[in-house]
């Protein structure tokens, strides 16, 4: 594994405590780590981050060091185990917080106060600390203490009401999108609070609501109501030719309504000469002859290989999408050329390829500095290095089950 040839990262020198679990908190902290922040992941002794028990696993069999979810979300970090329910565990956390710039957590809002680690306590230990709290519904309001997960976030966010078809039940986006959205949205106010600290000298609490982040994507649904009083619903499955997933011979593609003047090129690319009739060329014509258009286009697409079609259309400058599976992504030449995947050796999970950055920086960008940590791998190192504990002290803390 090689580090990025650039410097130490845009966030070099920033110290982050990651008390996150599952997806949102750890993803937020990893995005900081990817830009050079030094992240200490604080895990529960024994079991660690619950994502260690989330599949899929490298090799298929459940193992706390082989969870692909954990491995993906926690590279570039060190791991310390700490029992926050013990007074001594709390004391160690406060000592670490004194040296940190950011603490990221995504417990339910009642948890940190119940551990004596609310914003007031952390701020007393370190007034410059930025406390990033990510939760389903936020740290305030009548739903503050409601329990939630991906499904509940999607339901309350409004997105499900427009997802799926009118004939069936609402359906959420696939996989655990809400957690990733929460982590990504959470980085923004965290960095904003750090920039604010440059002028004010003080940290503050950042309160991120995952369901609100999902709602933020409804750039039509919300103004449909505030501009017209209309409520968007799930669409009826008619006039689906464009902008939806359609069958190709060997999978699925997405055809887009071509720009004006491109209709004949489009018909040539999809191999549908019967469509090259002026009656289909206008928007009005497409609506008037929707059923015939659906049938002719569907039949043409179904004869074509999806990647050949995707490439042919794009080379002709016609917008076109291909429905890729995880396998397609793993084998994608574009991602390979962009250096999106990084091979990392891990003593238990073995050598695996990991997805990486979403952007490149000309001077400082994504950097891979550490493999994912084993549970508590750096406990001794951090206690001795960061907190100046003696070897005997570390042994005592271990024996007492604090670490």
């Amino acid at each position: 594994m090689t580090g990025d040839p650039a410097g130490d990262g845009a966030l070099a020198g920033l110290r982050v405590l990651d008390l996150g679990h599952q997806i949102a908190g750890p993803y937020c902290a990893r995005l900081l780590a990817d830009q050079g922040a030094e992240v200490i992941k604080v895990e529960r002794p024994g079991t660690g981050d619950v994502s260690r028990a989330m599949g899929p696993y490298a090799g298929g069999e459940p193992h706390p060091e082989k969870s692909l979810t954990f491995l993906y979300l926690n590279y570039n970090k060190r791991s310390l185990t700490l029992d926050l329910k013990k007074a001594e565990g709390r004391r160690i956390l406060l000592a670490l917080a004194q040296q940190a710039d950011v603490l990221v957590e995504n417990f339910e809002p009642r948890v940190m106060p119940s551990l004596g680690l609310d914003h007031a306590a952390l701020s007393a230990a370190n007034p410059g600390l930025v406390l990033t709290s990510i939760s389903n519904f936020g740290q305030t309001g009548p739903r503050r203490d409601w329990r939630g997960n991906d499904l509940i976030d999607y339901a309350l966010s409004g997105i499900m009401s427009i997802s799926g078809t009118a004939l069936r039940e609402p359906v959420k986006h696939g996989y655990h999108q809400a957690g990733y959205v929460g982590g990504l949205a959470g980085v923004i106010p965290t960095l904003a609070a750090l920039l604010m600290r440059d002028t004010s000298g003080r940290g503050q609490q950042v309160d991120v609501a995952i369901a609100e982040a999902l709602t933020s994507t409804l750039l039509l649904t919300v103004p449909y109501y505030t501009y017209m009083g209309e409520t968007q619903t799930r669409r009826a499955p008619v006039g689906d030719s464009f902008g939806n997933c359609a069958r190709a011979r060997d999978g699925w593609v997405v055809a887009h309504a071509p720009r004006s003047g491109e209709w004949n090129d489009f018909c040539e690319v999809v191999g549908a000469p019967l469509l090259a009739d002026p009656k289909f060329a206008t928007t009005r014509g497409k609506i008037a002859h929707a059923a015939e258009l659906d049938r002719l286009l569907g039949a043409a697409l179904a004869k074509q290989d999806r990647f050949a079609l995707f490439e042919h259309a794009n080379r002709k400058k016609i917008l076109f999408g291909v429905v890729q599976t995880p396998q397609d992504l793993a084998n994608c030449p574009q991602l390979a050329e962009r250096g999106f995947f990084h091979e990392i050796d891990h003593p238990v999970a073995g050598r695996l390829r990991y997805p990486g950055q979403t952007f490149e920086g000309s001077e400082e960008g994504f950097r891979l500095s550490r493999r994912p940590p084993l549970l508590g791998e750096h406990t001794g190192e951090i206690l001795r290095g960061e907190l100046g504990c003696s070897a005997a002290e570390v042994a005592r803390l271990r024996a007492a089950g604090v670490v």
Binding site: P56, T69, G141, R143, W146, L151, I152, L156, S157, S161, S163, G164, E169, G174, Y175, A185, V187, I188, P189, L191, A193, L194, L195, M196, D198, S200, G201, Q204, Q205, V208, A209, E212, T215, S216, L219, L220, T221, V222, P223, Y225, Y227, M228, E230, R234, G243, N244, C245, W252, H256, L319, G321, L329, E337, R338, F340, F341, Y354, P355, F359, E360
Partner: protein
Amino acid sequence: MSPKDRLEGEFACARQEAGAMSAPHRTERESLAASRLGKPQDEHARPLEGVRVIDASHVFAIPYATGLLCDLGAEVIKIQAHTRVDVMAAHGPFPENAPGDRPWDRVGSLNTVNRGKRGLALDFTKPAGVEIFRRLAAVSDVVAESFTPRVLKNLGLDYASLRALKPDLVMLSNTGYGHTGPWREWGSVATSLEATSGMCWLSGYEDGAPSKIGQSYTDFLACWSAVYAILASLYRRRRSGRGQWIDLSMYQAGAATIGPLIMDYMANGRIAARIGNRHETMAPHGVYPRAGEDRWIAIAVGSDVDWQALRRVMGDPAWARESCFEDMPGRLAHRQALDRALGGWTAGRDAAALAALLQAAGVMAGVVENGRDLLHDEQLRSRGFFERVAHPPQSGIGTRRYMGRPWRLSATPLSIAGPAPRLGEHNREILTGLLGYSPGEVDALEHEGVIGCEITSARSIQPLPLAGMRRNRRIGAQADPDYRDL
């Protein structure tokens, strides 16, 4: 005087003019200097006070990103073309569904993302337009754009060119697939990227086709990634004095959110499938009908303890006592029967009351809210998620509610800085005040069509065909009469 010093000098002059022209406004350097000198800080100071951003982008992703920068205190100048209309404009929605004389100023989605910006309408395919862009970049901290890679390079407005004018510039370029690689010149919109990035494959009904998702969903992943990249670069610039270019790929922003599933294929050869609302280790886990037309409640039972709680709330009916439902493996195995029975119990009940009842018992539950529900939601209301923004009288838009931000800063109150600009609203003020053009020169630029404030080709934009949309169930059976009174 070195070229760099000269640029800095020009920079300072331009800043002074900007200060004389607009609201009191401290440059980033002045803000930092003041804090280092221990001068008292304005308690309403915002994180990006003194940062000037050029937004040369369209549709949603980067406009939304720069809109968020504006909320954080940046001065954002929106460069729009008056030679063609944003592709989203025809999609509306328009106030009271009336596009009016200036439909491009009346689009609800675009007015959400462009809030608080100043507007410059510029044809920068003309040499004089390119010159204006260059002069703007020379006095700005951030340029964010979303053209296909060749466009700005051909115009001499790429990072290498602009950096010569402003050495510490942070520039972000957002494209579908990135500026390198075999797909770099390929066009894309969110609907094609949802597909290529793997999300369509994973979304939709378990027994149905892959499905497009949300409203340009990958635009928002790119939006947040862009703000993350820009803020990290500004953080570094404050410490190192160095800017940089950011090459953001929406495709990668999407693929990053399914990382473990790509790894599952690479490590295990397994291709993850769509599972709809189902969960691999929880049952019940789905949406269930409730009283009313198209009304649903989501319920997720994460453990046997949760199941016992749900049984108590239901009054422990006979079906729920069946042994096959007793533990999680049993419930997962008999999921369909379980869903049918639970749906029979929820149907006809009031969902809001039911969700509160289930949550009080510790069961994860929530109403499937629609657009109307969101604007009446007590949680969002108590957190001030929607903000009222007053548009100027001549726009005819009035005061509307807009989505703010999905986060709060405890010591830094933030709000939307103002309405989206009307096309070209600040042409004259920016050119004379910030860039030092004379009024006569601005007149000439207007005459030559380098700047403008109307899109003559877009006058024909029509109202949305609401009756047809209602028939096709794109919108609900009737409009709410009191949507502006809340």
